[in-house]
């Protein structure tokens, strides 16, 4: 029984390691010399028409490899990132990616040569060590998760930088392009590397698909999941292994500083569009893939821009648009809802003020707009727009410039508003012991949210009230 469990957990690790072995790619670090750049050289080299056509039509073999590789990477990161994000482990990915650097350096020192698969094995080993270091630090009292992540991230990265310095001295000034892992160097991607990413993407998508139920249970409520027999530690381990896999195969393209963005941003963007986990996972994959595709295409057109950064900026763009435009959770939708509520409130206040004035002037009376303006502290501009809106909705008529009359339907609405307002006032006075002088303002806010159900309950509480009761605190619009 126990050995079976161990075997299962080892399987996940074995899959991870196997996947990183078959790719052979010696020339990963041989970016064209023209790509070397200095910070002071700021010209972008805008693409010629010919380059544009070559890149966009996928004619160029190298571009094809890079675009396919980064697109698949974005999709894989989007899928596993969804669960890392919901498990609130996304920053663990950051500690992990920074912890890969010493592994890369040590593998290089031991081998004395550039062999991508072996460097990635080194990256995996120290990356996993970094994850365990975070978990271990967290169990110490008084060290919280954020501190643990910060410590591991910086210390491992520091060790990696020191080792890179050592390599530079050993090799007389050559650090052999290892810094490509820090900032990313997608242009150096070979077909074998794209295959590696492809296989990793399949493993990630298949893993998340098969374990969708387990991942969902553990992300939402790990304690309950554990209570019904889900092996939370094992599920977490597999989830983390898939994060490790995605991170390690993406190091070369995006770089270890920015790779965490691909885990977090597509998932966070997808969350704006849907409340369904399955849909969120799919959207996150699509957003990640789009970021990878557009990012690598742009940077193929503008070869002086670092691919990893452009990919991440594309993801940031997707996030920004989601945050603004998403139908329910987006900022624009929220501010529209807020605006509509305010407009409706103003409309209802206007009608209620008219109903109060009709009580004084008699039903169907022509109400001078000066009296209406006195009922509330409305600016002339605000009142004009309110009146225009009420006329559009057919609630009032305006025969002359400064005289207003309620239409029959407007009157019905207005009296209902007035009744709700006064019922609430009476309820507050009788049942909540609030002074009559205070209830008007409270009722002002509440009257707009009173549903039919609440009004019926109010009527049950105040059985002696029929029709529109008189104001319990004297009319406000009286002079």
């Amino acid at each position: 029984m126990y050995s079976l469990r161990t075997a299962r957990s080892l399987l996940a690790l074995a899959v991870m390691l196997l996947v990183s072995v078959p790719a052979a790619s010696p020339a990963w670090a041989s970016g064209e010399p023209s790509r070397s750049r200095s910070i002071t050289d700021t010209s972008l080299q805008w693409p010629s028409g010919e380059t544009l056509a070559r890149v966009l039509l996928f004619r160029d073999y190298n571009t094809r490899v890079v675009v396919i590789g980064t697109t698949l990477l974005g999709a894989a990161a989007g899928v596993i990132g969804t669960f890392a994000y919901l498990r609130k482990r996304a920053l663990m990915g950051d500690a992990l990616s920074h912890a890969t650097l010493p592994g890369i350096a040590i593998a290089f020192i031991l081998l004395g040569a550039k062999s991508l698969p072996l460097l990635l094995v080194g990256a995996t080993i120290t990356g996993v060590l970094g994850v365990f270091a975070v978990i271990g630090l967290r169990t110490i009292p008084r060290i919280r998760e954020d501190a643990a992540i910060g410590i591991v991230l910086s210390v491992f990265f520091g060790v990696g930088m020191v080792l890179l310095g050592v390599i530079q001295q050993m090799r007389t000034g050559q650090e052999a392009g290892l810094s490509g892992f820090i900032y990313g160097k997608a242009a150096a991607m070979l077909a074998a590397d794209a295959w590696l990413i492809g296989v990793a993407a399949i493993v990630v998508v298949a893993g998340c698909g098969l374990l969708f139920k387990e991942f969902r249970a553990v992300c939402f409520d790990p304690q309950f999941a554990s209570s019904i027999g889900v092996r939370v530690h094992l599920v977490d381990f597999i989830m983390m292994a898939l994060v490790v896999l995605t991170t390690v195969v993406g190091l070369q393209a995006v770089g270890l500083i920015l790779i965490v963005a691909l885990l977090i941003i597509p998932a966070a963007a997808a969350r704006f569009w849907t409340d369904d986990l399955r849909m969120m996972t799919i959207l996150s994959a699509v957003f990640g893939a789009l970021s990878g595709y557009f990012g690598s295409t742009f940077s193929a057109l503008l070869p002086r821009l670092p691919t990893g950064a452009v990919i991440v900026l594309c993801a940031g763009g997707v996030f920004g648009m989601s945050m603004l435009l998403a139908p329910k959770r987006g900022l624009l939708a929220a501010s529209y809802r807020h605006w509509a509520l305010r407009r409706n409130t103003a409309y209802q206040h206007l009608l209620r003020a008219l109903a109060e004035l009709e009580e004084q002037f008699g039903e169907g009376a022509e109400i001078p707009s000066a009296r209406l303006a006195g009922a509330r502290r409305w600016s002339p501009l605000h009142m004009r727009s309110c009146l225009a809106a009420a006329r559009r909705r057919g609630a009032i008529e305006r025969r002359e410039q400064d005289v207003i009359t309620l239409t029959p339907s407007g009157r019905a609405q207005a009296r209902r508003m007035l009744r709700n307002h006064r019922l609430w006032e009476l309820y507050l006075i009788r049942h909540a012991d609030i002074a009559p002088s205070h209830v008007d303002r409270d009722a002002d806010d509440v009257e707009h949210v009173l549903s039919e159900g609440i009004v019926r309950e109010l009527e049950d509480e105040l059985t002696d009230i029929t029709g529109v009761p008189p104001s319990p605190h004297g009319s406000r619009s009286a002079s």
Partner: protein
């Protein structure tokens, strides 16, 4: 004969009655070596509603979490109908505190309740129609059928609590642990929970409920456990729920027990 030996072995040599839904023997639980529960001995009677009552920090939630293996035991053992928790997961249901999860999770009420069925499903097998139907029936039982497709963050606190209850119901367990199901719920949810508890009792289920409101203990429960780091008293409400026992439970912390616990925590830090 071999059966007797096998069962002795399984019980770890302790005296656990196989007819008892929850038997706790000599249980001590510690957080970072600081003991929060001392020497708990308890045998829950079959088919009763049992309130677990005590002041803040008395270890009420800790007790039920430790019973369900969510916290390690420093010593002692817990058995469900004579068997350890690992063998009895299917028959033990859990309703955690509502605040223990992030309700902004992308899930509908039905999704959450369906999770109550996950324990029956093997790895990698998604829930089937049968499980969805069981989840819908559970939502129906707590009066939430019309909200089954609503995003959980758009439910009120009371409705969220009912979703948690429905999730445990979907499990169709024999023993239920509930952690403050009445905390912060509206009157109609409180009434719905009470009705549900009585229905569970009528079906012979045993329910242990962490409860914070001593005013309602007599009304809701058959049995009560008064807890303050150790069991002050446990048994039928009319016998145990006395002024004297309440005084012992709530009347100040047990200074010596507390000091000893702190001393042990200090040792743990070195």
């Amino acid at each position: 004969m071999s059966n007797i030996f096998a069962s002795r072995h399984q019980n770890g040599g302790d005296d656990h009655d196989p007819a008892c839904p929850v038997s706790i023997h000599d249980m001590t639980v510690a957080y970072h070596r600081r003991p929060v529960l001392w020497d708990i001995d308890y045998a829950a009677p079959q088919g009763k509603l049992i309130g677990i009552v005590g002041p803040n920090g008395a270890g009420k939630s800790t007790l039920i979490k430790a019973c369900m293996g969510l916290l390690p035991l420093a010593s002692g053992s817990v058995r469900f109908y004579g068997k350890p928790y690992r063998a009895q997961r299917q028959i033990v249901g859990y309703v955690p505190q509502r605040e223990s999860v992030d309700w902004d999770f992308p899930a509908s009420a039905l999704d959450v309740v369906t999770m109550g069925r996950y324990g029956r499903l093997p790895w990698c097998i998604p829930p089937r129609r049968r499980d969805k139907n069981a989840a819908l029936a559970a939502l129906e039982q707590v009066g939430m059928a019309e909200f089954s497709h609503r995003q959980i963050s758009r439910l009120s606190g009371g409705q969220q609590q009912r979703v948690f209850l429905a999730r445990a119901l979907a499990q169709d367990a024999l023993i239920y642990f509930m952690d403050e199901p009445f905390a912060g719920v509206d009157a109609s949810t409180e009434a719905a929970i009470v009705t549900l508890l009585r229905a569970l009792k009528a079906r012979g289920r045993t329910v242990l409920i962490v409860h914070h409101d001593i005013q309602t203990v007599r009304e809701y429960f058959d049995e009560v456990m008064l807890l303050n780091m150790r069991i002050i008293a446990a048994g039928p409400v009319e016998e145990v729920f006395t002024q004297e026992n309440l005084q012992k439970t709530y009347g100040g912390r047990l200074t010596l027990l507390d000091k000893a616990a702190q001393a042990m925590a200090r040792i743990g830090r070195h």
